[in-house]
């Protein structure tokens, strides 16, 4: 059954990483945010900035979910989600675990621990990264608590693993 959602926002499914540009260790991710700034420019409300890890970040308080940034993103990693959907895997990796691990410190490696711990059966691994069905999700946060890679974030900033 489709949820009648009060408010949508745009969300960037990548946390960024100090190593997201190829570096001395050769770490590189081709799926994540490349920091091109296309979304930043597209946003009429100035709700998007490039964050400290080099990935775009949406200020969800300002965002109205118009979707312009989604169109502007060359990587296709910005998605429209319910603003109240609190726990989000912030990764769009498509590589298998070993490569994903190498490419980024914050990558989802498809280990399925979140899937197993989700009481609602709302999480699946699609294209090697976790995807939450927001209609089934009830915002318990078990996925964040159990994620060994710190990929899943509480977008409200209430629950944080490395506090």
């Amino acid at each position: 059954m489709k949820n009648k959602v009060p408010r949508f926002v745009a969300r960037v499914y990548c946390k960024g990483c100090e190593h997201s540009q190829p570096d001395a260790e050769g770490k590189d991710c081709t799926y994540g945010c490349i920091g091109c700034g296309g979304c930043v420019e597209s946003c009429k409300l100035h709700a998007i900035t490039i964050g400290e890890h080099g990935a775009a970040v949406v200020d969800e308080k300002k965002c109205v979910g118009c979707g312009l940034c989604i169109k502007a993103c060359p990587q296709d990693i910005i998605h429209k989600v319910a603003a109240d959907h609190s726990f989000q895997p912030l990764c769009s990796n498509r590589d298998a675990a070993a490569a994903a691990k190498k490419a980024c410190d914050n990558s989802c490696i498809g280990c399925r621990i979140c899937e197993k711990n989700c009481p609602m059966g709302a999480i699946t691994i699609e294209g090697n990264h976790a995807v939450i069905d927001e209609e089934l999700c009830t915002d318990c946060g078990f996925c964040l608590v159990k994620c060994p890679r710190g990929v899943i974030e509480d977008v409200r900033g209430l629950i944080c693993k490395n506090r």
Binding site: M1, K4, P6, G121, T138, V145, C160, K161, R163
Partner: protein, 849 residues
């Protein structure tokens, strides 16, 4: 060191643990309920920096530096407002979900002082309520918002007489969360017990090695079958349920207990359970009744696999059908259903003189006593049972799940012991609703008048009898529907399998057969060329007429009025479906069915004492209103005591929609005695006296050799209509219920709304999947309706005089859930032309992909 602020108090703690455990165990904040500890139910909501969040997931280290608020930390004004609002709106039933709801309500109202209905529903979307159907909770939040914005209105002066929409007597403790469920009790010197469960649904236990577990420090005992002082088995009606499976015997389902481990702490307990080594010879399980009925099937119980066979026959159905102008024959099937009450099973038992005292959450303290005493090798009176608040039952708490284990463990370790099921255990262990396969044949004449019905029912009763026999019997006796015709024959069989036991579930078998007969009637209307409403109206039972079971119905019979009440709304909508139902109030069929109540005068107040469980339906409020009505005493002069076996007389199990009528009448009789005494004495002069009311609801046995047997003292009747939008979503359900005299219309609406939404799940979304007898469904994946998904429910209460007991009030608990599924299926039939015969329905917007 972790720093965290809770309700304004700063805590610095070493040990990291979940926020829920920290709040309950360290801060002793018991309003934060543990309904699942797996993130699925929402009872554990707290505010973190003002935002609602479930507390069972995050560790306290992850919310360091944040401010946590629970209801205990609300301002006095907020507390008063939520109590008033939830009480006046009738939003509280069992109460277990309520603190979580209040938290989410505050989270919303703090940022949105005037929310609309949809915003309220959205804010509560992560909180499950199994009792109320959410509607009255939305009302409560709206009312709380109004009081917060505009100040409270003057509180109404209630007379507490019958018919008044009074707030329930237990609202305050349930809204503020200080009311005690068993799990909330603080008991000195408490040890923790839990059973090691069967690893296979059917396997012979070859050996149990407890040595490693016993050697672990902090482990007090590992109890196995040979430690049981009395009989091995317990059981509600048939004593066929092994307390623990002894070496040499076979497990019958995955919920079977092999050994009970008792330890100093829950953590040690979990570790120790893993150290108990059980060897099995794994055997092929019997997965369904068709396997169970085979001649070469393994015998799961000594007497064989057929638990019950019921044959009900009056007139000559076969001949009547042969001579009918229209005949329809169809197979139907309904699935397993999980009760999904919000409070998991929990009991605390402690040594008590030379017996044992059990604090329980169950549907009958005397049932618990009678089941446990022989097993514990004690006379009944040495097993004392006290009900704490019961966080929902719906039939699922009629059996022994933890009470007997707690009692046994307490006797053996000579200390108080708590046994609590995890949600995952609860899903496996307690009895479910029977899945039934049914074949019905219906014959009608050209006018659509029923000539005869024949039916066959096969039920899977799972591993143990539980209430399987009576459930099958009610399924059969009520399969005829609330109609006047004479030729009816049904044959029903319930077989043991290695699935979880099936037992009582709101509707008690009638939910299943009602689906079949009502669907056939809907189809028959089409064949005959009249409307589904008309065919029911023509056949509906009217006062003085004879039901297919031979009973002449009384003047309180108002099925026709319920049909008339929904006629306009039914006819105004193109995609509307409807169904009728009847449901007995009281056990009936010649069984001794006693209501008992004592009214004691103590310190000038009337103490109402009855050994009858309130499982959320509001029995205490019903009794208070009955006493107020009959004696004229004020509410403040009455005290309702929780059900117990110590000073409250046995008033039977909360089952069969019986408490309002049966215990209500007992209370009324006690009041009459009091009234007589008051003619010559003042209440002060009656200090210390007790007035005992008893009522035997006398009925005739099934098949009794009388022309018109009275099977039940009363029946409730109902008609429900489902209205669909063009897109297939449900616009609303209109439910008209015949209740005799409405004791508290607010509570009745709550029962109707809750029952309807429960069966919305049964009809559309709910599953309880079993693979080779292994349950695969978690609490979160049952498909329970969530707050933002429920359609409107409109209750129509039809009152009618004629019942000469209990001030004319009939029970309403079960029937609210009975006609819903066929009404919904009928509506979809009109929308898409697909005549569906199994549940849950397919091709609806509610179907889970």
């Amino acid at each position: 060191m972790i720093e965290i602020c809770v309700n304004g108090t700063e805590y610095q703690v070493e040990k990291d643990q979940t926020l829920l455990r920290f709040l309950r165990d360290v801060c002793k904040l018991k309003s934060v309920k543990d309904g699942c500890s797996e993130g699925a139910c929402g009872t554990c909501h707290v505010l973190i920096d003002g935002v609602p969040q479930k507390a069972c997931g995050p560790m306290i280290s992850m919310v360091q530096g944040k401010e946590i608020l629970t209801i205990e930390g609300f301002t006095e004004r907020e507390k008063e407002i939520y109590v008033r609002a939830f009480g006046e709106a009738g939003a509280v039933q069992c109460g277990f979900c309520i603190p979580g709801m209040v938290i989410c309500a505050k989270g919303l109202l703090d940022v949105n002082p005037k929310p609309g209905r949809e915003e309220i529903a959205w804010a509560l979307r992560n909180n499950i309520c199994r009792c109320t159907g959410y509607k009255k909770i939305f009302d409560a939040v709206e009312l709380a918002a109004k009081y917060l914005r505009e100040g409270e209105s003057e509180e109404s002066a209630y007379s507490w007489r019958l018919g008044e929409r009074v707030p329930r007597i237990d609202v305050r403790e349930k809204v503020l969360g200080y009311g005690e469920y068993v799990d909330d009790m603080e008991v000195k010197d408490l040890a923790y017990g839990s059973a090691v469960r069967a690893a296979h649904p059917r396997a012979r236990v070859l050996s149990i090695d407890k040595s490693k577990a016993l050697a672990m420090p902090g482990v007090l005992a590992v109890i196995t079958a040979e430690d049981i002082p009395g009989t091995l088995e317990v059981g509600h009606i048939v004593r066929d349920w092994d307390t623990l499976i002894p070496v040499g015997k076979c497990t019958r389902y995955l919920g079977d207990a092999i050994a009970i481990v008792v330890a100093e702490t829950p953590e040690l307990l979990e570790k120790a359970k893993k150290l108990v080594k059980v060897e099995y010879e794994v055997l092929q399980p019997v997965t369904n009744p068709y396997e169970a009925m085979k001649e070469d099937a393994p015998k799961l119980h000594e007497k064989g696999n057929l638990l019950a066979h019921k044959h009900v026959s009056r007139g000559n159905a076969k001949e009547a059908i042969e001579n009918a102008s229209h005949v329809l024959k169809q197979k139907f099937a309904t699935p397993w259903t999980e009760h999904a009450f919000l409070e998991p099973e929990c009991a605390i038992a402690m040594p008590d003189d030379d017996g044992v005292l059990i604090y329980s959450t169950d549907q009958g303290v005397y049932a618990t006593q009678h089941e446990c005493a022989p097993m514990l090798g004690l006379p009944n009176e040495k097993v004392r049972v006290i009900n704490k608040l019961v966080g929902g039952g719906f039939g699922g708490k009629e059996d022994m799940t933890v009470q007997h284990h707690a009692g046994l463990a307490a006797m053996i370790v000579k200390r108080p012991v708590k046994v609590k099921l995890t949600r995952a255990e609860s899903m496996i262990i307690h009895p479910k609703r029977h899945p039934m396969d049914m074949e019905f044949t219906l014959g009608c004449n050209d006018k659509g008048e029923i000539q005869g019905v024949m039916a066959e029912v096969i039920a899977d009763t799972g591993a143990y009898a539980s209430l399987g026999g009576p459930v099958l019997e009610r399924a059969c006796t009520h399969a005829a529907g609330p109609y006047h015709y004479e030729n009816f024959e049904i044959d029903g069989k319930a077989y043991y399998t290695n699935n979880p036991p099936a037992g009582a579930f709101r509707g008690f078998g009638v939910t299943q057969t009602c689906f079949a007969i009502e669907m056939l009637l809907t189809k028959m209307a089409e064949v005959v060329g009249i409307s589904p409403w008309e065919i029911r109206y023509r056949n509906a039972i009217r006062p003085g007429e004879v039901l297919p079971n031979g009973q002449i119905v009384d003047n309180a019979t108002a099925l026709v009025e319920t049909l008339e009440a929904v006629r306009d709304v039914y006819e105004a909508h193109p995609y509307a479906g409807l169904a009728c139902a009847m449901k007995n109030a009281g056990v009936g069929v010649g069984l001794p069915d006693y209501g008992r109540c004592i009214i004691g005068v103590k310190n000038g107040k009337l103490h109402i004492r009855s050994g009858a469980s309130c499982i959320g339906q509001g029995l205490g409020t019903v009794l208070v209103q009955m006493v107020a009505q009959t004696t004229g005493f004020a509410r403040d002069d009455m005290i309702y005591d929780a059900s117990n076996t110590i000073d409250a007389p046995d008033s039977g199990t909360t089952s069969g929609s019986r408490q309002t009528l049966i215990t209500g009448e007992a209370a009324r009789r006690a009041c009459e005695l009091l009234n007589q005494a008051l003619e010559s004495k003042t209440i002060e002069e009656l200090e210390g006296e007790e007035f005992y009311g008893e009522y035997l609801a006398a009925t005739d046995a099934l098949g009794a050799d009388v022309p018109n047997p009275v099977s039940h003292v009363a029946y409730g009747y109902a008609t429900q209509v489902c209205i669909l939008n063009e897109d297939g979503t449900i616009e609303k359900i209109v439910a008209a219920h015949d209740v005799g005299k409405a004791v508290n219309p607010l509570s009745i609406e709550g029962q109707i709304e809750g029952g309807v939404i429960m069966s919305l799940g049964f009809a559309l979304t709910e599953q309880y999947q079993l693979e080779e007898c292994v349950p695969k469904t978690k609490y979160g994946t049952i498909g329970l309706f969530r707050a933002h998904q429920v359609p409107q429910v409109e209750s129509i209460i039809v009152e009618r005089e004629g019942l000469n007991v209990a001030c004319g009030a009939k029970g309403i608990g079960e029937i609210t859930s009975i006609p819903t599924a066929p009404a919904i299926a009928g509506a979809y039939y009109r929308l898409n032309g697909k005549f569906q015969t199994t549940l849950p329905l397919t091709d609806t917007p509610y179907e889970r992909p």
